[in-house]
């Protein structure tokens, strides 16, 4: 009897010991992963500068943008370069999206019918900017297994019934540090629609995050959009007044 208790105690001790060890060797905390993914580039308020490159078989295009965001609800993106398009801005407040064109001094609201259309000619859609989808909230996720190269885990997230959105399933690859490496988006018909890759992990604005995102749509083929964060400030001081149409129309 005493021997049995001892073995059980030893086993229990061993389990506790390993349970508190480094995350790498153990079953990952799915909830923590999803939270990290949701909040990867978010904070109460952020200011960032990024370069966006669109490559297609017939042309290439480079934009430099400055972005402001407040929570999940408000965002402002202003093009800084090239000079021809400088000043063109996109304002998001809730579900609404407006484009401001400085050359004609007009603000135009993007209609719902164009939400799945390309944002400023990139492979990101207007919907990508507007949608406040959350991996934790809108998807049922599970760990599909470990991954060898890079070392990490594969996660499959399936959209919860009743959630409106384009993606029925997202297959993700995250590192042991809970950073995304790759996400594959599958539409409602179950077809792969696009692949988003994350790399170039650096310290930026006090966070260690991937600073280069590459979006490759399946259709049209040969096309990709690359977004590279140049600088970022998280938990910055961004006044609410930044996100208004009148503010938008003032020259930036």
């Amino acid at each position: 009897m005493r021997k049995t208790w001892a073995s059980i105690a030893a086993l229990a001790a061993a389990l506790v010991a390993t349970g508190s060890g480094p995350v790498a060797a153990r079953e990952p905390d799915l909830d923590a992963i999803l939270t990290r993914l949701d909040d990867l580039y978010r904070s109460k308020a952020s200011i960032a500068r990024a370069e966006i490159g669109v490559t297609s078989p017939r042309a290439t295009r480079q934009l430099r943008v400055k972005t402001w965001s407040l929570g999940e609800d408000k965002a402002l993106i202003v093009i800084e370069a090239p000079a021809r398009e400088a000043g063109i801005a996109t304002l998001k407040v809730g579900d609404n999206l407006w484009n401001y064109l400085p050359r004609i001094a007009r603000t135009i609201r993007v209609p719902a019918s164009m939400m799945l259309g390309s944002w400023m000619g990139t492979d990101f859609t207007n919907d990508d900017l507007v949608k406040e989808s959350s991996y934790r909230r809108d998807f049922v996720s599970r760990i599909a297994g470990p991954s060898e190269s890079p070392p990490g885990w594969r996660i499959i997230s399936e959209v919860k019934p009743g959630v409106v959105g384009r993606w029925a399933r997202i297959e993700m690859l995250v590192t042991r540090d809970y950073l995304p490496v790759q996400m594959r988006f599958f539409d409602r018909r179950g077809d792969l629609a696009r692949t988003l890759s994350f790399d170039d992990v650096r310290d930026i604005g006090g966070r260690r995050v991937p600073t280069r995102l590459t979006l490759v749509p399946v259709d049209p083929p040969g096309q990709r959009t690359e977004m590279r964060y140049l600088e970022a400030q998280f938990d910055a001081d961004v006044p609410e007044s930044t996100f208004s149409l009148t503010e938008l129309e003032r020259k930036r």
Binding site: A59, R61, R84, I88, R106, I108, M114, G121
Partner: protein
């Protein structure tokens, strides 16, 4: 005198003997021919209208595009040096008209609300003519110099009027964001449904400048002299070395669903015509059969007098042929005259249509139909109808003739 001429003379005299019966029979045949010919003309006229409404103003008889433009309508899939290409195409003798166009999706707003639209850049001079996209628009309201024309349905959904300022945002051919302000010169009901619902018509130079296209265009729409020769026209242009590598297609390849619908309409028209023919033919047969039966006693007497049955049959057939010929000729004459007159003036049955105010026709099944008929018929149509009716008449006479041949004179005289 040969035997056949004497039969004819006899037949002729027989017909003359009972004027009223003969006249009735001739009238039946003539009327049948008239009906068949006239409805054939109406159906032809409607078909011509359907083809015209499909092939022009947007489609034309054939179109030229850059390879793969039709797949994704990429703004950067262009026909470079469009003006030179256009001049080259217009030099072809089988080409009646050619015009260059530019297409791009865009966002348009008159106030704050944006609407998804399609920009269509057209040459105002060429397309203001008949079968153009701008037909019917007064010259001072044509697009050009930053002025645009909007489809009536789009104008209604955007609540926009002539004189309003329209902001347009789109993607230029080099990928950059194209944006500019335009004035609405006119709101016009465009015959092309898509353009009316979503179209903003710009002048070709305005569109080329907005979208950074230079001298390029997306489409050259070609019109030949005869729509039936469209496939040949497309093949001819396709073989032209100056158009190497470009996608040249005739209208039935460009809108295969409409082409198929037209085939369905053709098949239905045949059925309708067949029904008319059957009705008309029945009238002819009825009249001839009745008159033949009326004369049974007369035939019996002839047989009793020694006329051989075979000669009697031949006599009857000759009568029917003479009758038939006079009848179809008379019917054709009236029919042709009627078609010629109505082709000029048109037969206006719009009062019968569900929406009499819709001047430019009703849309049913993706096709635009007209209740104003302009009948047309070819010589072939006339000859075919003529032969068919004549044949029916003679056939209608055969049976009683055969029956007569087998009669016993006594039976015949008694009936």
């Amino acid at each position: 005198m040969t035997k056949s001429s004497s039969v004819i003379r006899l037949a002729w005299r027989n017909l003359g003997r009972n004027r009223r019966r003969t006249a009735l029979a001739i009238a039946a045949v003539a009327f049948a021919q008239l009906i068949v010919l006239f409805f054939c003309g109406l159906l032809n006229g409607e078909r011509d209208y359907l083809v015209d409404s499909i092939t022009g103003p947007l489609i034309g008889h054939a179109q030229i595009h850059a390879a793969k433009w039709r797949e994704d309508r990429g703004v950067d899939r262009v026909l470079p040096h469009a003006s030179a290409l256009l001049a080259h195409v217009r030099a072809d003798p089988t080409v009646a008209r050619a015009c260059a166009r530019v297409y791009a999706p865009a966002l348009a707003a008159v106030r704050e609300e944006g609407h998804a639209v399609v920009l269509v850049g057209v040459d105002p001079e060429v397309e203001a003519a008949r079968w153009g996209m701008l037909e019917g628009i007064p010259p001072d309201a044509l697009p050009g110099n930053q002025r645009v024309v909007i489809g009536s349905t789009l104008a209604e959904s955007m609540a926009v009027r002539a004189g309003d300022s329209l902001a347009i945002v789109g993607q230029a051919a080099d990928g950059s964001i194209a944006n500019d302000l335009f004035t609405v010169a006119a709101v016009s009901k465009n015959p092309v449904d898509l353009v009316d619902r979503m179209g903003v018509l710009l002048s070709l130079p305005d569109a080329q400048q907005l979208l950074a296209l230079g001298d390029a265009a997306h489409e050259i729409a070609v019109r030949g002299r005869d729509v039936q020769a469209s496939t040949a026209l497309a093949a001819r242009l396709s073989a032209d070395p100056a158009l190497a590598g470009m996608d040249v297609a005739p209208w039935n390849e460009l809108v295969p669903t409409l082409a198929t619908m037209l085939q369905v309409v053709d098949a239905t028209s045949w059925i309708i015509l067949a029904i008319f023919f059957f009705a008309a033919g029945t009238g002819v047969a009825n009249t001839l059969l009745t008159s033949a039966f009326e004369r049974t006693r007369e035939f019996g007497m002839l047989l009793a007098l020694g006329v051989r049955p075979f000669r009697l049959v031949r006599l009857l057939l000759s009568e029917a042929t003479l009758l038939g010929l006079i009848g179809v000729v008379a019917g054709s004459a009236v029919g042709i005259a009627l078609i010629l007159v109505l082709h000029r003036t048109g037969l206006d049955l719009t009062a019968l249509s569900p929406n009499p105010e819709a001047a430019s026709g009703m849309r049913v099944g993706g096709l635009t139909w007209s209740m104003r008929f302009y009948p047309t018929a070819t010589v072939g149509d006339v000859v075919r109808a003529l032969a068919a009716i004549l044949f029916t008449g003679i056939l209608a006479a055969v049976w009683p003739a055969l029956r007569v041949g087998r009669l016993l004179p006594t039976e015949a005289m008694r009936s």
